[in-house]
Subunit: 281 residues, 2 copies
DNA sequence: AGTGCGTGGTTCATTTATTGAACCGTGTTA
DNA sequence: TAACACGGTTCAATAAATGAACCACGCACT
C-alpha cells in the first residue's frame, strides 16, 4: 500500500555525500526490484523531481525541487512555520521559547514566543545577540554548529555577565563535549540571574547546526519534575524546526534527551526541589 | 498508468495565488476522485511534500520541498545545470550562447558558452552589463521582467552604442509590446556592429523573468534559413532554463516562436539571403 | 428550529496498475 | 574470452488503486 510513497522514498537515498545514484545501486539501497525502481524513477523524472545524467546514466534530484521549495516559502515562510511550531510547544511546556539563528559568526535572536500561561516569565530582547559562552544556545551552537566557532573559542576575551558565566575556554570545551553527547545544553543563570535555559540545535542541510531553539524557565518554576517535559518538547522541536528549515538531523544525534546528561549545574547548591542536573555525571 | 506521477501532479495545483487548497477543491482541480485525492495527499504528507493546516484542514506544500531543493543545489548548482543545457543547445545551433540574470536592476552576464564549431564567433565579455535598450536580451527583460524596468524606461538617458541602437523610449516601448506577443526578441547590430542577437526570457517562480538566454550570430552566418533552428533552440532553452532555476512559464507565453514575429530589422537594407525579419508585420 | 449545501473523510466491490523473475545488450574487468 | 555489473525490458501473476455512495459535521439562509 502506498505506491506513491514508495516512489518518493527513492528520494531519501540521495544525500550530500551521494548526490548521484545509479539504477542498480538505488535498487539495492531501497530493497526494491530494479524494474520497480526504474518505474519510480521514471515517474519522478517526468515530474522533474529526478533528473538523469545523460552521460553517466545515474540519477539525481531534479529541478522541480526548486519550484516546490519556492512554493513552500510562499505557503509558509520559514519563520512563520517556526513560530507556529514554537507556539504549540509553548502551550505544552508553558514557558517562553527562543529561536536563534547563526548569522555570519554571531547567534542572533530570530523569534521569541512568550508564554501566555504565567505572569512571571522570561522576556528576551528580540534584537539581542546571544553570547556563545553564557547561554545554553551558545553551547549548543559550539557543539553542533560550524567548527570555526569552536576553534576560535578564546581568541577573543569572553564577556562575563553574571558570576555563573563561563569565561574559561577550557571548561567551555569540556562542556561542549558533553553537549555533543547529550544533544541538548542547559545553563543556570550564566547570562541573567534567575533564568534557567535549555537549548537544542536546529540543523541545516549539511547536518551542521544553523541555529538553536531554547526554552527559558524562571527560577521559581525550575523544579526537576518539569524537566522531562521540557526536554521532550525540546527534542521534538529540534526535529520539527530542522524539517521546517529544510535541514537534516545527523544519524549520530541522540534519539532522546536524558535529564541526567545536563552539562550545567549550580555548584555548591544543595540538592533540593530545583533541577538536580549534574548528579548523574 | 503512473500512480506516483498522479500523486505528484497534485502538487501542480499549488501556486503563488493559491498556496493552500482544500480537499474538495483539489479533487475538482485535478479531476480525480475525492478518495484518491485524499490518498495521494496522505502519501505526499507522509513524505513531507504536503502539510495540512490543522486549523483550516487545507493542504499546502510541505517542508520536504526545502530539503530536496538543498540536495538539488548540491547535485547540480543552478549555473552548472544551465551550462550543460546551453552546451547541448550550442551543439545544435552552432552559435555562441549567452545567459544573463537580473541583479537588482541591471542585467548581468552570468554564463557564456562559445561555439566550438566556427572560428568566426561572437565573443562576449562575461563581466559586461547588458544594456537594456541595445540588446535582444534587454528587450526581453523589459517585456517579461519586473514592471519597474519598463516603467522607468527613459528616466535615465539611454546610451548609444552603434547607429542602430534604440535610444528613443517610445520606439522601445513599441518593440517591447511586440516582444511580449512573440515571446522572443532580436536585435541587429544595435550593440555591436555585425552581431545579430536573439533572446528569450527565463522565468522565476512568480512567472516574471529573472534573466534571459540569448544566441549571438555573426553577420556572416545570419541567413534566414537558419532562423527556425535558432528559434526552436531558444524556445526549448526558455523552458529548460526556467525549470532549471525553479521557475514557471506563464500560461500566456507562446507555445512556439514564429520567425515572422521579429521585432527588429535592418531598415533600408534590401531583402537578400540575410534574415528577413520584419516582412510579416 | 429546520433545511440545504459544502466541507473533510470513509467504505468496499470492481478494476487497473504495480510487481519481480528472468532476460537482453553493452561495456568493463580479469 | 569469460565473467560480471551495468541500465533497461518483458509479461504473467498479483496486489494495489479506484470511485460511487455514504457519513458526520459546520455553516448559512429561511
Amino acid at each position: 500500500m502506498g505506491t506513491a510513497l514508495n516512489a518518493l522514498k527513492m528520494l531519501e537515498y540521495f544525500s550530500n555525500s551521494q548526490p548521484e545514484i545509479g539504477l542498480s545501486q538505488l535498487s539495492r539501497l531501497s530493497g526494491a526490484n530494479k524494474a520497480t525502481t526504474l518505474r519510480h524513477l521514471r515517474a519522478l523524472e517526468e515530474f522533474g523531481l529526478i533528473e538523469q545524467n545523460p552521460m553517466s546514466k545515474s540519477y539525481m534530484i531534479g529541478p522541480a525541487a526548486l519550484r516546490l521549495a519556492a512554493l513552500r516559502e510562499i505557503a509558509k515562510p520559514g519563520l512563520e512555520g517556526a513560530r507556529s511550531q514554537m507556539r504549540s510547544a509553548m502551550q505544552v511546556v508553558g514557558e517562553s521559547l527562543h529561536l536563534s539563528l547563526l548569522e555570519k559568526d554571531t547567534l542572533k535572536t530570530a523569534l521569541v514566543v512568550e508564554t501566555t500561561q504565567h505572569s512571571v516569565r522570561v522576556s528576551l530582547d528580540p534584537t539581542e545577540i546571544i553570547p556563545i559562552n553564557a547561554t545554553a544556545s551558545g553551547l549548543c551552537m559550539l557543539s553542533f554548529g560550524p567548527t570555526f566557532l569552536f576553534e576560535r573559542l578564546g581568541s577573543d576575551p569572553l564577556t562575563r555577565y553574571t558570576d555563573q558565566t563561563l569565561t574559561d575556554p577550557d571548561t567551555i570545551r569540556e562542556r561542549v563535549k558533553l553537549v555533543g553527547r547529550a544533544g541538548w545544553a542547559n545553563s543556570n543563570g550564566s547570562y541573567e540571574d534567575g533564568v534557567y535555559g535549555f537549548a537544542s540545535p536546529i540543523f541545516g542541510i549539511d547536518q551542521i547546526a544553523i541555529g538553536t531553539i531554547a526554552i527559558a524557565v524562571p527560577e521559581s518554576r525550575a523544579t526537576s519534575e518539569r524537566l522531562p517535559a521540557i526536554l521532550s518538547s525540546l527534542h521534538t522541536l529540534t526535529h520539527e524546526l530542522t524539517a521546517n528549515f529544510g535541514g537534516q538531523i545527523p544519524e549520530t544525534f541522540p534519539t532522546e534527551f536524558h535529564p541526567r546528561q545536563a552539562v550545567d549545574s549550580i555548584p555548591g547548591e544543595p540538592r533540593n526541589e530545583r533541577f538536580q542536573l549534574s548528579e548523574g555525571k
